[in-house]
């Protein structure tokens, strides 16, 4: 029996390559539109020094979003990042000021602590099987508590030179934190798109059982994702302390939602397995643009949040309506 096998596949599909990328087009477009509107409305918005301010804000939100994306891609969630920022900010200052360690050592130890928190999260999720939401919620509470306990509410003043220069130096008038963020983006992109381990992260998020049966060490990948997330958060903590020049336990309250929002708006799927660095970065840019624009356009503080909500709603809904044409008829 020599029969031509399958019917030829449906020819209409040029979707493939662009299908996922389409998600990012939405955010990128929104960023362009919002930027143009704000820049036209107030000339100072696109000025160098405001761009620098936004660059520093972006470094904070963006780095956090980037880290959280790793976890979300594996199908988990990390609610602890805001609190880890606070803890690491305070902890690095404490090590530097109260324990008298050199700046660089203090910073390094804070990052190591962040990584350790990530390891704990990863093991709790993989070995104990505690759901990611619960695991990181416990840290959300406990890490904030630790930051508070470490300071008894009193900011830690007197951090060293290295801290302050991180916040103040500029290279070609780009602030150092912004450069760090860009570097992190490139690294993350290389890892996720150009290494086997990165691809395996997607596999774990897309279908953990399939990944396991294919011989992928799923637990290690998951632990890695949590380590990346917590370490990014710890780095942001150091950046914030450097910027404030004091260790403040009340920083970054609620930033976990900002970070997750940036990731999700940038096309990272909460179900896992989907998302790209480009989208995450632009998701963060969008949030920073809007937040900054509301201030610079003198929107009344009582109305800023309504406006922020409305802009987000418009961005998200147009994005969906645009996307719907592409994948109609799936339900």
């Amino acid at each position: 029996m020599t029969t031509s096998l399958t019917e030829p596949p449906p020819p209409r599909v040029a979707l493939g390559g662009t299908f996922l990328r389409g998600k990012e087009i939405g955010v990128v477009g929104a960023v362009v539109v919002v930027f143009a509107v704000f820049a036209l409305a107030n000339g100072n918005f696109a000025g160098v020094s405001n761009l620098q301010t936004m660059g520093v804000d972006l470094a904070q939100y963006g780095l956090l979003a980037l880290g959280v994306s790793f976890v979300i891609i594996t199908g988990g969630i990390d609610l602890s990042v805001g609190s880890v920022v606070a803890l690491s900010g305070v902890w690095s200052a404490w090590l530097n000021v109260h324990a008298g360690l050199p700046d660089v050592v203090a910073i390094a130890l804070a990052l190591v602590t962040g990584a350790a928190i990530g390891v704990v999260h990863g093991l709790s999720v993989t070995v104990l099987g505690v759901p990611p939401f619960v695991t990181t919620l416990v840290t959300l509470v406990a890490a904030r508590g630790a930051a508070l306990a470490l300071t008894e509410g009193f900011p830690i003043d007197g951090v060293g030179e290295v801290f302050t220069s991180i916040a103040q130096y500029r290279i070609a008038s780009v602030p150092v934190p912004t450069l760090l963020f860009l570097g992190a983006c490139v690294l993350a992109w290389l890892f996720l798109e150009r290494t086997y381990q990165g691809r395996q992260l997607y596999a774990v998020g897309g279908n953990a059982e399939a990944a396991r049966l294919a011989g992928i060490r799923t637990r290690r990948r998951v632990v890695l994702a949590y380590v990346v997330s917590s370490t990014c958060a710890a780095a942001v903590g150091v950046l914030v302390t450097a910027r404030l020049t004091v260790g403040q336990p009340s920083i970054a309250t609620g930033w976990e939602l900002n970070a997750i929002a940036a990731a999700v708006i940038g096309g990272v799927g909460l179900a896992g397995g989907v998302g790209r660095v480009l989208g995450v970065a632009f998701g963060a840019i969008l949030l920073v643009l809007i937040n900054n624009g509301l201030v610079i356009l003198h929107v009344s503080p009582y109305y800023q949040q309504i406006v922020l909500g409305a802009v987000l709603a418009v961005a998200v809904v147009t994005d969906r309506l645009r996307g719907r044409g592409a994948e109609r008829d799936r339900r």
Partner: protein
């Protein structure tokens, strides 16, 4: 002959149920060993233990002379095992190419992912079974059959010394199945060991060098090809008391029409006309992707129709949602159990009573006791083998899950029953039982539309068979005109000119 797979003292229990008790098992190189058994006999559990997918409670497995680390599939792979799982685990959002190379590295680099090399390797792997699937599409957009082909290619691509095929052809049509079987034979001829699990006994007879039969988690028979007659295999599977008869004729259809379809059009199908009468069983045949599934979905209101009219029992019938169809007395057993049928973590009871709930309830209120009795009756009538109704259905064997889905629709006593690959993964005994059930429904006047890749199934059950090609109706063959050749020829025709 060298033993590639050696297992001793394997035990596995879930809860308090012992599902695996195999004291000794030894598989030689160069053989295709078929593993048979009823649904839930423990076949998948056995091979999952052998391949490290599940950790055994006790026992030892040696692969090519080295002991397997219990429950470590990565180690099993190192030792040269590849598996085609029953529920093909693929990463839906990833491209076909990456799925095919999942957990492996193409190209020279060990760290840096080489997309081009991956796609090249993937294309090669697909070539092993001559499948034709777009490489850069997310795998979730493929049909079940295509996914199964991908899963098979994925395993073959690992160039395994031991290949495990757990119902590899359940979603495939005859042509594709044949090709898969041939590949398996070739591998055995090259000195590999192949374990083949299947419910189609003709396939087993065609391929096996040795037949192992399982019952209640134990190996109960070890037959040579000569001993393995259909009767012997069935007896070994079901125990001595069983006498399964798959052959027979459907009851005569009654008078009067239930469903008439005129000029139906939906994405990729039609326009087409159909008539199904009271008590009539209409088969739908076609190649992979010919539009059988979309036809039944359109009839169910689950896919948007773009043209045409339908009447059901004389009334105009234009379902815009499956709920409309259910209310009008239509039921659908979809082809993809995992994606389209099961609530995997919910109890068996919920899964069975799901579609019948509104009619079971009195003014919205459910009486738990009534529901339990009702479910118990249905469960018994379709013979779902489970510890209790409260067990999550995801823990049942594949065939038992399928029976439960059947039960769900039988319970609604439909006027028109749509079946899409209804006996996929169902054992011979249960298959006969399901045929019997379908026939008894037809006998009571229910119209049945059955889309299937198994020609034997259509020839056994259907009064008439409509053959689709490229979404169009090519011809309708009456029972008297049945032959595999006739059906295949029609399915391979180009379809009606547009």
């Amino acid at each position: 002959m060298t033993a590639l797979v050696e297992a001793t003292g394997l035990r596995k229990t879930y809860g308090t149920v012992e599902v695996l008790r195999v004291d000794r098992l030894s598989l030689a190189a160069g053989q295709v060993v078929a593993l048979l058994g009823e649904n839930g006999a423990g076949k998948s559990t056995l091979v999952r233990v052998l391949t490290g997918a599940t950790a055994a409670d006790a026992g030892r497995v040696d692969l090519a002379g080295r002991e397997l680390r219990n429950g470590d599939p990565a180690h099993a792979q190192e030792l040269g095992v590849a598996t085609v799982s029953q529920e093909f685990p693929l990463v839906g959002e990833m491209s076909t190419a990456e799925n095919l190379m999942l957990g492996r590295r193409a190209g020279s680099g060990r760290v840096v992912f080489d997309r081009r090399a991956t796609e090249r390797a993937a294309a090669e792997v697909l070539g092993l079974i001559g499948a034709d699937v777009l490489l850069d599409q997310p795998v979730s957009r493929l049909s079940v059959a295509q996914q199964q082909l991908v899963e098979i290619a994925k395993a073959l691509g690992r160039d395994p010394r031991v290949l495990v095929l757990d119902e590899p052809t359940s979603a495939l049509g005859p042509v594709e199945s044949r090709r898969v079987l041939r590949v398996a034979r070739d591998l055995a001829a090259q000195g590999r060991a192949v374990i083949f699990i299947g419910h189609r006994l003709d396939e087993v007879r065609e391929i096996a060098d040795r037949v192992l039969v399982m019952r209640n988690g134990r190996l109960v028979a070890d037959l040579s090809p000569e001993e393995a007659t259909t009767g012997a295999m069935i007896r070994a599977m079901a125990g001595d008391e069983a006498e399964v008869l798959v052959e027979g004729d459907p009851p005569r259809p009654g008078a009067g029409s239930v469903l008439t379809v005129r000029g139906l059009e939906a994405a990729g199908i039609g326009p087409l006309d159909l008539d199904v009468g009271r008590g009539e069983i209409l088969g739908v045949a076609g190649l992979m992707g010919s539009g059988r599934s979309r036809l039944v979905h359109a009839l169910m209101g689950a896919a948007r129709t773009t043209g045409g009219t339908m009447t059901l029992a004389g009334q105009p019938y234009a379902p815009r949602h499956p709920a409309d169809a259910v209310r009008a007395g239509v039921g659908l057993v979809p082809e993809d159990r995992k994606r389209q049928s099961l609530l995997p973590v919910a109890p068996v009871r919920w899964n069975i009573s799901l579609a019948a709930l509104p009619r079971l309830a009195r003014r919205s209120w459910l009486d738990p006791r009534a529901e339990r009795t009702f479910t118990e009756d249905v469960r018994k009538s379709v013979k779902v083998r489970c510890a209790t109704q409260e067990q999550p259905i995801g823990t049942l064997s594949g065939g038992n899950q399928q029976r439960a889905v059947f039960g769900r629709w039988f319970a609604t006593e439909p006027r028109l029953l749509l079946l899409d690959e209804p006996t996929r993964g169902v054992d011979v005994g249960a298959k006969a039982e399901i045929y019997h059930l379908v026939e008894s429904f037809a006998a009571r006047g229910t119209a049945v539309v059955i889309a299937s890749s198994e020609l034997e199934e259509l020839m056994r059950l259907a009064h008439r068979t409509a053959v689709l090609a490229r979404g169009r109706l090519v011809t309708t063959i009456p029972r008297s005109g049945y032959s595999k050749h006739a059906l295949m020829t029609a399915a391979n025709s180009e379809g009606a000119a547009p």
